[in-house]
């Protein structure tokens, strides 16, 4: 049973000359870690907006087909109803945080669900703990570093206990170290709490080792869908997605006539393959 199921989903923004997404049919199983990628303007953000009901509830346009998230059709439920099933984290955490303390920000969602004080307290403490920012709970968000702010934004979404989390380039404003730490947090949510992750990202370099599935879009359609290893072939390169550099390196070496047992997608894999070749006789 899929936790996200799209059937022939299409959407055209009012005033746009062509659909932003067209005839999308996918199923995502509970507990998957999906990376959604593709050239800019390919429809990734539009899909995210559909998944949490911003489309069709807040963006006007022509919505066709069906999208079911955790058993709820996004057409028939409000964004507020969907919010405790599917959480959304954006690129820039500053757009998401607004309170005078991290704790208030994280409590905002549960309070609006009408939960009891004790339940709200419990969830806030838990979300701050999972994201590793309990010690920052009294700080105003604007005093935090970018990485800490993004953790707070994730905690605020987590406190709603969604089964699915959509993250739209959540690390692109962060320095590389903070970016890797945030990806670890996201990976933990997936592994330890079995939250289904849909992560939009251009930089496959940094996400490949966490994902079990990569979906590539182009021109509003899904053009590739499989494990990272399956997808990072020539076709993906041709439509302009940024393969991990080590994968590109191995593709080049293969073109030079060197045979490899497999094409690596991470630095560690690449190092072990090359080490073996360089020391083997």
């Amino acid at each position: 049973m899929s936790i996200v199921q799209a059937n022939h989903l299409s959407f055209t923004y009012t005033g746009a000359s062509k659909p932003s997404i067209e005839d999308i049919s996918i199923g995502v199983a509970p507990g998957e870690f999906v990376v959604l990628t593709g050239p800019s303007g390919c429809g990734k953000t539009t899909i995210c907006r559909c998944l949490n009901g911003l489309i069709p509830n807040f963006y006007s346009g022509d919505f066709a087909g069906e999208l079911i998230v955790d058993g709820m059709s996004v057409k028939e439920h409000t964004t507020a109803e969907l919010a405790s099933h599917v959480g959304m984290v954006f690129q820039n955490p500053e757009n998401q945080l607004f309170s005078l303390s991290v704790e208030r920000d994280v409590a905002f969602g549960p309070e609006n669900l009408g939960l009891s004080r004790e339940e709200t307290r419990k969830r806030v403490d838990w979300a701050l703990d999972v994201t590793g920012i309990s010690h920052l709970k009294d700080k105003p968000p604007y005093e935090l570093s970018g990485g800490q702010q993004q953790r707070a934004a994730i905690a605020a979404v987590l406190a709603m206990q969604p089964k699915v989390m959509i993250l739209d380039e959540p690390t692109s404003f962060l320095d590389p170290k903070s970016a890797l730490e945030i990806l670890e947090v996201i990976s933990d949510l997936n592994k330890k709490l079995a939250i289904t992750i849909i992560l939009v990202e251009h930089r496959l370099d940094i996400v490949s080792r966490h994902a079990n599935r990569v979906i590539v879009m182009d021109n509003g359609r899904i053009v590739l869908d499989g494990t990272p290893k399956d997808v990072y072939g020539e076709h993906a390169r041709l439509i302009g997605i940024g393969l991990p550099r080590v994968t590109t390196l191995f593709n080049l070496l293969q073109r030079d006539g060197i045979q490899f047992p497999q094409t690596p997608i991470t630095v560690d894999e690449a190092a072990s393959v090359l080490r073996k070749m360089l020391s083997d006789d």
Binding site: G41, P176, H202, V246, L253, L274, M277, L278
Partner: protein, 273 residues
């Protein structure tokens, strides 16, 4: 030429963001300014075009102290493309957006048309000429913001995080474009966290941390220096990390781009046989 001497800057009521910076960026250089979130990168470049004035020390652009220059002149000589395009864009159509500054500078309409058409083409924006910037995707809006500055042909160009939200092809295009600008003798200053992008351009890197310059050397030096990277919250680029892991196999540790790595590995494999 952009020079700073003992440059300090503090926002009102806050600690010093820049704590004494001495730099010299000569005409025609490509420089990457890197460092952790909050290191002071954006603040630094805002002193270059007069948006911010030093609290102490000085900034000189082409020999003139920014205190003695006008913001109008400075902003024409030093084009700054903001990180967030929405802080910059306001027109009804992309074409209007690009023509705006040229009209203000008093160019003839046919010159404006020609320049706008050429920049639309260069940045792969021609098909959006009559669209509103606000229906475009994040990556596309960023390119419009870039075009809106480049169109008036500033002598020095500063790009604040130009690769955010850009896909691989657009980054490639951007890299080629930077090379082209540089070939025209322009100074290009890029603020970025994108170690992979920098590893392929291999410019001089000015590394900032907590308001001070902690490194100012070629990319191959900075991006392979564990201690410096750590202080500035950066990571090795993928190829650099791979070569680092394999240095005991005789691969050159200072190699950080894909094509040099390809050559080095072919060489190592050939030597073995």
């Amino acid at each position: 030429m952009i020079e700073t001497e003992g440059l300090k800057f503090a926002y009102p009521g806050s600690l010093e963001v820049l704590r004494g910076i001495d730099l010299k960026i000569t005409d025609g250089e490509v420089v990457a300014v890197m460092g952790e979130n909050g290191a002071g990168k954006t603040t630094l470049v805002k002193t270059f075009n007069g948006l911010l004035m030093p609290s102490a020390g000085r900034v000189k652009v082409d020999g003139v102290d920014t205190h003695d220059s006008s913001v109008a002149k400075l902003s024409r000589d030093v084009g700054l493309v903001f990180q967030n395009p929405d802080h910059q864009l306001f027109s009804e159509t992309v074409r209007e957006e690009l023509a705006f500054s040229l009209r203000n500078f008093g160019y003839e309409e046919d010159t404006i048309d020609r320049r706008v058409a050429s920049i639309l083409e260069t940045l792969d924006l021609a098909r959006f000429a009559e669209s509103s910037p606000f229906v475009l995707s994040g990556g596309e809006r960023k390119r419009v913001a870039l075009a809106a500055v480049l169109v008036w042909n500033p002598k020095h160009i500063i790009l604040d995080e130009p690769t955010i939200g850009q896909d691989y092809q657009q980054k490639d295009r951007l890299r080629n474009f930077i090379i082209q600008l540089n070939a025209q003798g322009k100074t290009v200053i890029i603020i970025t966290h994108d170690v992979e992008f920098v590893a392929e351009c291999k410019p001089r890197i000015i590394l900032l941390s907590r308001g001070l310059v902690i490194g100012d050397r070629p990319a191959e030096d900075i991006l392979t220096d564990e201690a410096l990277l750590d202080r500035a919250s950066l990571t090795r680029p993928q190829i650099g990390a791979l070569m680092h892991q394999l240095k005991d196999c005789g691969l050159p540790e200072r190699t950080i781009d894909v094509y040099s790595a390809e050559q080095a590995i072919l060489h190592a494999l050939g030597r073995k046989e």
